[in-house]
């Protein structure tokens, strides 16, 4: 039986709920969980002021409610267990998480999994800007783990990403993979502009054609061996990828030439 947090009152201002993680609630009774603090704007409040907590933690926390889109930092720094959210979520979902899984049935706001190092986040709906990215000023974003977005993501997906996997079934915004250091980003839908700007290493794989920066140079059209591994893996996670795209071929562009020039953008060219 999972631990169920049912939203009973909409927050008046954004709620910061970094205590809602398996790490914090392990060993707590529902009443104990209700006593954990949350920040409601500048007020220190309790989880119980906004959620009714029932059930028993068996590895899964389930959040339900219509106003979860105003709840930030769900699953921040979590290292294990599962958080399942029926609804939307606010900013900083799974920020800095190192393990476990987060499943969101609705949409997520900006900063999904910033600077995460492990675990998996799966969003059935759309994600905002800065998915899997670095916070401002930092030179390293996501360093491991997986983010799967079934809808669209917006700008700066994987900004300064150092490792891990991001897969977007829908479109991604501008500057996908900007300043990437390594890792893989798959986009099934349309890419925005300036993909991979400043990337040092890493791969952005697009299942559609796209317009690229003048500093990405075409190398060849081929079928990169490792892609199939990823496609199999992603299919296993419920993403649909048609056979032609699994077979390829792909155009390989190397860049960014203003940087190390060791990154690649692969565009499907079947």
């Amino acid at each position: 039986m999972p631990l169920l947090l049912k939203q009973i009152a909409p927050p008046e201002v954004p709620l910061e709920a970094d205590n809602i993680t398996p790490d914090r609630i392990t060993g707590q009774t529902p009443a104990g969980v209700e006593k954990l603090t949350v920040m409601h704007g500048n007020e220190t409040r309790r989880i119980g002021d906004f959620f009714r907590v029932t059930g028993q933690y068996d590895g899964v926390i389930n959040l339900q409610g219509d106003h979860l889109g105003r709840v930030k930092f769900i699953g921040a720094r979590m290292s294990r267990g599962v958080i399942r959210v029926d609804g939307d979520v606010g900013e900083h979902l799974g920020a800095g998480m190192s393990g476990g899984a987060i499943l969101i049935s609705g949409n997520a706001a900006d900063w999904v999994g910033p600077e995460m190092s492990g675990g998996r986040i799966e969003i059935r709906g759309n994600a905002g800007h800065m998915t899997g990215s670095a916070y401002r000023g930092a030179d390293m974003g996501m360093t491991g783990g997986e983010i799967i977005i079934h809808g669209n993501a917006r700008n700066e997906v994987g900004n300064a990403m150092r490792n891990g996997l991001i897969a977007i079934a829908g479109n991604s915004g501008d500057f996908t993979g900007v300043n990437m250091l390594a890792g893989s980003i798959f986009v099934s839908g349309e890419l925005g502009i300036r993909t991979g700007a400043g990337m040092k290493r890493g791969s952005v794989i697009s299942l559609k054609d796209a317009e690229l920066l003048p500093t990405f140079d075409y190398s060849c059209t081929y079928q990169p061996g490792y892609l199939t591994l990823y496609f199999r893996y992603l299919t296993g996670l419920g993403l649909e990828i048609d056979d032609e795209r699994v077979r390829g071929p792909y155009k390989r562009y190397c860049g960014d030439s203003v940087e190390m020039n060791r990154g690649e953008i692969l565009l499907y060219s079947g």
Binding site: E12, V13, H40, G41, N42, E43, P214, T215, S257
Partner: protein
């Protein structure tokens, strides 16, 4: 009688734009309380001074549109702010550093957010700075040394009219004794602005392709390849780009100035970042600097005060009892448009007239405290509205020029209205008293450098 009681103020500082020219010679008619002449001022500065008059009969404070005493209004403002769970303080570019310091203190005490007009001006350049740094300079270095000056995405002829003459184009300096003759000036823009005639070369880039052009320049500076269809992408031919690269690499001291053509268009901070990175790259070959051409008088001061007090230049939130920074989350347009905030303190700015409509709509629905020298759209919708003295004309204080050089203001004549610093200091004292009723001995830090202490009880 007008003309009898005249005062001359020398070396006064114009705070209209970020040039912060401090060589004004103001002729002040003390009877009329008007500045009748502003020698050395540009067209904007002349208007700034000429249009400055005191609306004697305007109330210094209003609560819900009705005149109130300053004490009542301070009390009401303090209550409004202390009651809020997520108050935002915004504006601050058109006021002194002394007032800005008080505003940050208030935000700290009430655990709110604080943001300045930087966020909708060169905020993206600030983000870029945090990512790539910047090779930069004070404006006197450009005047003394620069033999190549490039303006990108800005129109100083209209926004900063004395930038050319005083600092960067015709200015004569140590190694540029002949002024314009000793330097090459290039303007890059999407349209032929009134700044173009001042330049030796105009490069017209396709709208929205600044980043691509800057990126191509960076690649060529590093002797890397770029796509052959660069002209098709950017509207600028490869020959032109290569020639500019050669010019940049071979100059003695190059300067890149950039405007909101970069920060306000798609790409935002990456556009600024590309330009800054280009200047950085060029230091491999010669000395090169870059600088955003910043706007309102003391917006740079706001950045500086915020940075030293909180560690961050704008978009700061104190709700957890310490400063946090995150543009897009704690910046004002976002906080308003996402309906996150429940009260606002707006200082010397008019978001109700120039923000996106969604943000204006939320502002209209929450209690607002405003401080401004004139009636604005924001003061009209404010719950508590203060009318304050104009900085640099009716107040002393400190402002920072766009290149971080601090300059002292000289007051030309008195205003019947209190200064921003005075009102904010009073609000700070009241919010502290309301927030920490048991700790009234707490304020051991003297109030900010008192720039003006007289007359605020009228």
């Amino acid at each position: 009688m007008s003309g009898e009681n005249v005062k001359i103020v020398e070396n006064a500082t114009c705070t209209f734009c970020g040039c912060v020219c401090d060589d004004m010679v103001l002729t002040v008619d003390l009877d009329q309380k008007r500045i009748t002449k502003a020698k050395n001022a540009c067209i904007l500065g002349r208007a700034w001074y000429a249009e400055h008059y005191i609306e004697e009969d305007a109330p210094a404070a209003m609560i819900d549109g009705k005149p109130a005493s300053i004490d009542e209004a301070v009390e009401e403002a303090a209550k409004t702010l202390v009651d809020a769970k997520f108050p935002i303080t915004y504006g601050l570019s058109d006021t002194t550093c002394e007032a800005q310091k008080q505003a940050v203190a208030i935000a700290d005490i009430i655990k709110g957010s604080i943001d300045t007009t930087t966020s909708v001006c060169h905020g993206p350049s600030g983000i870029a700075f945090q990512g790539v740094g910047e090779s930069t300079m004070t404006l006197g270095e450009v005047k003394n040394r620069a033999d190549l000056v490039i303006y990108w995405g800005g129109n100083p002829a209209e926004s900063h009219p004395r930038h050319f003459g005083r600092y960067a184009v015709t200015a004569k300096g140590m190694f540029t004794p002949r002024g314009k003759k000793d330097r090459t000036v290039v303007v890059v823009d999407v349209r032929k602005t009134p700044s173009v005639p001042a330049a030796n070369q105009f490069i017209q880039v396709k709208p929205g392709k600044d980043f691509e052009l800057l990126w191509a320049l960076r690649a060529l500076v590093k002797n890397r390849k770029i796509s052959p269809n660069i002209e098709e992408i950017t509207g600028v031919s490869l020959e032109t780009i290569q020639a500019l690269v050669d010019k940049m690499k071979n100059c003695r001291y190059g300067a890149l100035f950039f405007g909101m053509g970069l920060t306000m268009t798609r790409g935002r901070h990456f556009n600024s970042g590309a330009l800054i990175a280009l200047a950085t790259d060029l230091n491999e070959y010669t000395h090169f600097v870059a600088k955003p051409v910043r706007g309102h008088g003391n917006v740079t001061g706001a950045d500086n005060v915020m940075s030293w007090q909180t560690g961050y230049p704008f978009g700061v939130n104190f709700s957890r009892g310490f400063p946090r920074f995150n543009p897009g989350e704690f910046t004002t347009v976002d906080l308003l448009a996402k309906k996150d905030v429940d009260a606002a303190l707006i200082i010397a700015s008019d978001p109700a007239s120039n923000f996106p409509q969604a943000a204006i709509d939320h502002l209209a629905g929450i209690p607002v405290v405003s401080l401004d020298t004139k009636a604005t759209m924001t003061s009209k919708l404010a719950h508590v509205a203060f009318r304050t003295a104009t900085y640099g004309i009716n107040t002393a204080g400190t402002v920072y020029r766009m290149d971080d050089v601090p300059i002292t203001l000289r007051k030309a004549f008195d205003s019947p209205f209190p200064t921003d610093e005075e009102i904010l200091t009073a609000i700070k004292k009241r919010v502290r008293a309301l927030k920490f009723p048991k700790n009234q001995a707490g304020d051991k830090v003297p109030p900010g450098r008192a720039s003006q202490k007289e007359h605020w009880k009228h």
